[in-house]
Each structure stands twice: as structure tokens, then as C-alpha cells.
Symmetry: C2
Subunit: 494 residues, 2 copies
């Protein structure tokens, strides 16, 4: 495509592409009601470092079609090698960690048609996946009532994609990852536990589970966290763990707790909690793992609420001591393993004038919003996010007496909001790069997490619900709605 | 765990770990009946290049527990820095491209307990994902009746995991990838098509779809493949494409064909085929894309079989000209986005003797096969794979009058096979590394693909079926079965 643009002389025409997703992840029986934006910094880093190498140009040079004719000519490749830089590129984006919704431009790229087009795959690759995983992590963190969550997914991840996933999981609310490399990079302490094989190794050499536990406690007296389901959780693992905990305490150390990785985790949590209490360890944590996700956490918590009172425990006391180790189902976004983010041409310059570009679809909801736009979040008087509003570039809802929120596709459906019902309208897009100059300031994962937490505070509970969340409205200004309809009509006549 | 082993003085004990998966990918309404082994070469490459850097040791050195005590002591870290190499490591593995089945050791690692344990995450990360994607690709290739398949998934992949996925897709039967970097690395020509945005760009600047098509044809006269659904497939895209094809032909060029990316792909394929025929392009290809996977291909082909005769076409003529562009659903293994591959301790040396190690589970099918083993594929007289047989290290079914195939968990279930019914027994594991010496010879993707094709020839049709495939048997020799049962009994008494 770049060579076609080059040959037609339109390769340096200024063009604008919007990146957005069309629908929330749908995990099958449940779906998300919001997403957590993530991945921008890694895309920016890629952009700052990427260049075309000579061997890459040579590879393109040697590509031939069916008839043996070269696919890419020298003049085009020369232009590409001289122009594969971002001196004219401008990017604005919604910051990482923000709550985001379908059809809202999350990243807006303006630059020469050929170069902006070439960025598509890398941009989508960086942003789609991290947003997908940050969203899943946020749901899991919410389902776990804010308890500590650890990310364990590297062994089931897509190769080094597991690194991007670990970062996104931290953004989305996970507290630690067992991915030591990413912990190092992001300034986190890595966290993990021992595996069954440690107990197996001692047993295969003629020892016992107790020997294995004692060895671990000796090496990590203040970090003692024992996996108790290698033989039998209640009959072997737990009594052995308590024996070791007692020995530790006599030496002045407090254990962390136990981990359960199989069986009925809710049933076992209640029993293990009671036995730990009776043994004098009411503060020992119970770490759960084994194919956990938001739905499984919900089920476990519900079951504990029913079963804890039966054995004389307060459900909340059991639930509050749980920690969740989440692997496969987080790192692959179980149930929906791809976000449908796209990168669409929305405007192009001709004779110095911006022309909106349209992409028609039989499904009106799939027609992207054309032209250069702004994105606003409208907050009500409770300071809850009421809707996201997409406007034309020259519109500003701030200071208007009435803000009109138009349905994105239905002619007669709109909703007028008096200014007295609005607390404020917040512009969401921020400049990241301006005419090739980097304006982006790297920020810590902590800052990004704080954004997520603040945004979740501003979301109605119904939108955060795991099952059948309320639909959050993404609306257009009347002028943007009209522009889109006019273009569709013009298109139909073409 | 490595530090615990170090402190107990068992870190250099020789240990064996088996890598295997427990169940075929289950995509929901359908599941796989075989897998395609993949990822080994990349794991080997990682192993050959990995080393611990000083800053990594420093990072471990500064890790502290809750009480401020350092987690890793200097003597252990010194040992680790001196011993994080693979001089004593031996690996045997089933080659990439081979058809593989659950519970069969695919990769067997023997080395010092601490070092072999440390490899777990990397090994699983490299092998689980590529095997998952090679399997999905193989199913898609089979469902597409062997027609050309192109991989388009990078934009929805897990960051650079998309590279591993593209390689695995090629191993599994995909013919080309639009991932230019991986094509370069693997010696393939990259293949792709133009996007809607090319048509949009011309239109936004006042041109037409026909202008866009003509520009493309001018630049790529011998590779002309036009995306015809930007406006309306049958009313605009196809007539415009035929106009351009006619112009090309007058200049002596033959077009490749058209791509459909939306709508009812089966219905449209039939109509487009007929119109292309009538226009004199019976050999023009029809490339389909848009959330394709094996089930969708099956549906499309079935529908064409019904609809083609209605418009006077032979169904096979339509089907044989189809090419499939497969993205998201291949690169994420839609429906089951992780293979449940594990890495389990199965034996450990004590006093120079190998001791089998067991891991108990309430579910007998989840108890790994203990000890040092061999893997055999038993072929019947039709030269079809009859079963995989796992034996003890010193067993060899070749030359036996009768081979007994024992059910992996059920006492009374076994099956005796007379040698006259057996064509041959093939050992599947090959030595890859022996006492630190690399025996692995890199091989081309073509060689790996040839292995896959040969193995698929040896599979009964029922095992390859997309829906409800026949269960392929993975059996134990009676001696291995007995060893496992004896260990379980001994374990229960412990």
C-alpha cells in the first residue's frame, strides 16, 4: 500500500488514523462493562527505537512476484529508507490506566499517509493485548474484593507476550507477578511460591512432606508459605504445615500461610481457616490457585459465605485472608483472548484541507466516526462518569447550557443534559507526540494504577458488575452525528 | 526452591523432569484429536544463549522479605552464578512437526535438581504456545481441504508472541504469513493484501474505488489482488475489479483475484465465482478473511456445496479456488487459548540410583507416569498409527510376539496386539543434548512441515475429525503400569 501511495504521489499527504475497539471483551457467559487502557508506553518506546536496517531493505528488494518481477522498486525503497522516521508524526492518546469504552478514539495518529499506515500492525499489537489483559486483571481484582492478586501466567503465555501481559496485569490491579524479569524492569519485588515438585523431590529421596516443609522454613523462616495439597490437604499438608509453623514460632518467626492448588477451594478454605484458627494462626493467609478467574473467585466467595457459618466462622474473616494466584486465565484473557481494536483512516488532507474519510459497513455500528475529533468524559453531580462524548475538533461542551448526547447510529435517539446536572466535562486525549517531538513523559506503574483506581471510583457499580453490566453510553455531538450521516449519504450516491 | 535445594545439599542431585500436556485443546463445541509438536528449536536457542547477568544477580541480592532479611544469600547466589550453565544437562525430545498426544513425554530434561527446576517456566513458555498454535493451524489447514492459508494475526497477538505464533502456524500447515520479520527469519516470502483504508484514502480525496484499484494494478500488475467489500461487494467492488482485470489483461497481465472480508462469505463466494467466470476469469482466486477458523471454514464449504449447484456451478470448482486469510482466531487459538502443558519431576538420583518420583492427585488421570521412560508409536499393518506406548527405559516392544497396551489408570483394561498385526514400533524421543553437548541439528520449516504431513497420513481419518474426533490411545506397558500402582500404594501408606 505504501508503494501504491508513493507511485500515485499521495504518500506524503497528511492523514489521520484513529485507534479504537468496537466492543468490550465477551468471555462467553459474561462480558466486560469497561476496559482499562494499556500499552501506550511500550508502543512509544518501540516508535522511539525503530529503524529500517539495510538487510531489511535488501530483503524487500529481493521479493519477487509470480512472474519474477521485483515487488518493490528502488526509488520507493530509497524513499522509504530516507523517510522511515517520525519527524512529522503527531500522536494523541488517552493515558494508560484510564477506564475506556468502545468506539472512543484511544490513540490518534496524524502523519504522512504511507508512514502512518505502516504503523498499524505495531500499534495494534502493542495496545490491543495490554488493554485486554489490564481489563481482565481489573475484573479479577474487583471480583477478589481488592485482596492481593499475584500473576503466575508466564508458562502458558504467548512466548515473550507474557512480559507485556505481566505489565498489563499490574496496570489492571494485580499486585505482584512471579515474572522476575518484568518485576525487575518495573521496580516491583517478584512474588511466587514453591511447587509440588519440591515435596516430590524430598519424598522420592526417601524423605517426607514434613521434611520438605522444614527445609523450606529453615531457608525462609520469615516468608514461610507452604503448598499443602501434594499428598492430602487436610490429612497431611495442613497438619504438617502447622507442625512447621509451631517450630518457627518457637524460634520467633511468624509464617505467611498455606497455598491450595487443587480440590474444592471454597470448601477447603473454610476448613483450613478453622484449623489454622484453632492452631493459633488466625492471621495466616490462605493462597488459592488453579485456573482462577473473576467468575471462579465470585463462586468461591459465594460458597464461603454459605459454608463458613456452618463451621462457626464469619465468612468475611475467611474471605479477607485469601490471596489469589492467577495464571493462565489472566494471561490469555480466558474466554476472549483478543480485543477487537482497529486502526482506521478517518481523515486526509487535500490541498491543505482536512477531508473526513468514511468506511461503510452493512452494520451501522461498525461505521467508524469520521474526521478529526475530541473525546470528553461527562461527569454528573455525584462525580460519576455519566457518558463519553465524541465531538468534532472545534467543539467544546464545557460552558454550554445544555449538552446533547446523540446516539451513535439512531436518528431520533438523543438525550439533553442541563449544565446544572453536570459536574464537569473532561477531555480524555492528551498530546503524546507533536510534529515528531516527543511530549510523552514516562510514568511509573504506580501512577498508572492510581489512574485506574480513580476512574473505577467514578464508575457506577452497575458498569463494574461482572455479569450483565450496565451499558455505559458513548455518544456523539449532534454535529458529529450529522457529519457522519451526510458522508454516508454522499457515499451511497457514489 | 533452588536455594532450599542448595541449603539441603541436594541441588546437584541428578533429576529428571518430563514435559507433557494432559489434554487436547478444547475449543468449546469442538476439540482437537491430536496436537502438532512445536517450539523446540526456539527453546534450544534460548538455552544456548541464556546466562545470568551481574545486574540480575544484584537484583536477587537486594530482594528482602517482610522482616527486611535478604531472601537470597551470597553463597547460594555465588553457586548459581557459577553453575547456571548446562554442562550436565541432557534433553531428549519428540521432534517438531510430529503428531503428539496427551501424557506422552514430549521433552525430557535430566540435570541437577536446581538447574533443571529453574528451566521450567522458559521450557513451558516456549513449547506450550507453539504447540497450541501449530495444532490450531493444522486443523484450519485440514478444514480448508489443503487450500492455501495465510496467517494475518500479528495485530491481535500477545506482543512479540505473534512471532512465535507465526512460526508455529507455518509448522502447523499455514503456507505464508503477513509477518514480514518472521518470513525473513524463516526464509519465506511474506504475503498480504491491501486494506480498506487504501480505497478510503482515494475516496476521501475525491477519487473512487475504481481509482484505488487502478492504482494498485498499476503498481502490482502481476500480483493484482483486490479487496472488493469496502463499498458493496457485488454492486461496486466486483464490477470495478473486473474492469481493472480487463485492463490488465489487455496489457498482458493476469490478475490473482479478489478478497472478501465481510458479509456472508459462502453466499458471496458462489456469486463472485460465477460473475468472475462469466467475465472470463475462471482461474481468479477468491481470498476469504474475517474471523475464520476451522469451524467457520467447514460451515462455508458446506454452504457452498449446497448453494453452488443452485447457480449452475460445481461446488468443488468454487471451493478449490478459495484461499483463507486467518488472523485472530489462529494466533490466539480461539476457544482455548492455552495448552495445559506441564513439567513434572519424575525421577531423582540417590546414591547413584534413580528413584521414580510421584505426584498424587485425587483424579487418577492427573497422576504423571513416574520414572525414566521411552515412548513408542505402534503402527498397524495399514501403516496407520495404532497407539502410543510409554514403556520403562529398559523395555523395547520391537521383536516381541505380543505387545500389551495397558490403560493408563484402569486395572483390568488392556489390549494385546499380536506382532503380525504390527507393522513397526517407532521410538519417538530423540537426543537433543547429552551431558551439555548439543546434538540438535537445526532444520528448516519445510522439513518440520514434511514431518507433520507424513504423520497426518498415518492418522486415521476419525482422529483428524474436527468434531468429536476418535480418541487415540496412549497406553502404558504392563511394567510401567505396575510401577505406577506400586508407588501410589506406597505413597498412600506414607
Amino acid at each position: 500500500m505504501a508503494q501504491v501511495y508513493y507511485r500515485m504521489g499521495i504518500h506524503e499527504q497528511q492523514a489521520q488514523f484513529d485507534h479504537f475497539f468496537r466492543s468490550y471483551p465477551d468471555y462467553g457467559v459474561h462480558h466486560a462493562g469497561y476496559c482499562i487502557n494499556a500499552g501506550l508506553e511500550w508502543f512509544i518506546n518501540w516508535l522511539s527505537g525503530v529503524e529500517i536496517q539495510k538487510h531489511e531493505l535488501d530483503y524487500l528488494r529481493e521479493q519477487k512476484g509470480r512472474t519474477g518481477v521485483r515487488l518493490f522498486q528502488d526509488d520507493f525503497l530509497d524513499w522509504l529508507s530516507r523517510n522511515f522516521h517520525f519527524d512529522n508524526l503527531s500522536i494523541s492518546a488517552i493515558p494508560e490506566g484510564r477506564v475506556v469504552h468502545p468506539n472512543v478514539p484511544l490513540t490518534v495518529v496524524t502523519g504522512s499517509l504511507a508512514i502512518a499506515q505502516i504503523l498499524e500492525t505495531s500499534l495494534l499489537n502493542h495496545l490491543n493485548f495490554q488493554t485486554l489483559i489490564a481489563t481482565k486483571a481489573s475484573r479479577i481484582k474487583e471480583a477478589g474484593r481488592g485482596n492481593m492478586v499475584m500473576e503466575f501466567g508466564m508458562r502458558r503465555a504467548q512466548y515473550t507476550g507474557g512480559n507485556a501481559g505481566a505489565r498489563a496485569a499490574l496496570i489492571g490491579g494485580v499486585d505482584f507477578t512471579s515474572n522476575t524479569g518484568m518485576s525487575y524492569l518495573l521496580g516491583y519485588p517478584p512474588k511466587g511460591t514453591h511447587a509440588h515438585s519440591m515435596v516430590q523431590a524430598f519424598m522420592a529421596m526417601g524423605g517426607t512432606e514434613l521434611d520438605a516443609f522444614r527445609a523450606y522454613a529453615e531457608v525462609f523462616p520469615d516468608e514461610c508459605l507452604l503448598l499443602i495439597d501434594t499428598i492430602n490437604t487436610l490429612e497431611s499438608g495442613l497438619p504438617n504445615a502447622i507442625k512447621v509453623f509451631d517450630e518457627l514460632r518457637r524460634k520467633g518467626h511468624e509464617p505467611i500461610g498455606v497455598r491450595l492448588d487443587s480440590g474444592d477451594l471454597a470448601y477447603l478454605s473454610v476448613r483450613v481457616a478453622r484449623i489454622l484458627n484453632e492452631a493459633g494462626y488466625p492471621n495466616a493467609k490462605i493462597i488459592l490457585s488453579n485456573e482462577l478467574d473473576e467468575l471462579v473467585l465470585w463462586q468461591i466467595i459465594t460458597q464461603i459465605q454459605e459454608e463458613a457459618p456452618e463451621v462457626g466462622l464469619l465468612a468475611d474473616e475467611v474471605i479477607n485472608r485469601l490471596i489469589y494466584g492467577v495464571g493462565t486465565r489472566l494471561i490469555t484473557s480466558h474466554g476472549d483472548s483478543a480485543l477487537d481494536g482497529v486502526y482506521k483512516l478517518v481523515a486526509i488532507q487535500k490541498d491543505g484541507q482536512w477531508k473526513p474519510a468514511l468506511k461503510i459497513s452493512e452494520n451501522p455500528a461498525k461505521i467508524p466516526n469520521p474526521g478529526q475529533k475530541k473525546v470528553w468524559r461527562v461527569y454528573d453531580k455525584r462525580d460519576k462518569a455519566h457518558a463519553d462524548l465524541i465531538s468534532l475538533q472545534d467543539e467544546d461542551p464545557r460552558g454550554l447550557d445544555t449538552v446533547t448526547l446523540h446516539h451513535p447510529t439512531e436518528y431520533q435517539v438523543f438525550h439533553k443534559l442541563d449544565s446544572e446536572k453536570i459536574s464537569h466535562c473532561e477531555p480524555l486525549l492528551e498530546e503524546v507526540m507533536k510534529d515528531g517531538k516527543m511530549l510523552y513523559t514516562p510514568c511509573s506503574i504506580e501512577e498508572i494504577r492510581a489512574r485506574r483506581e480513580a476512574d473505577l471510583e467514578h464508575l457506577d457499580l452497575g458498569v463494574k458488575r461482572i455479569l450483565n453490566p450496565h451499558i455505559y453510553h458513548v455518544s456523539l455531538t449532534p454535529r458529529l452525528f450529522q457529519l457522519k450521516q451526510d458522508l454516508i449519504k454522499r457515499w451511497d450516491k457514489s
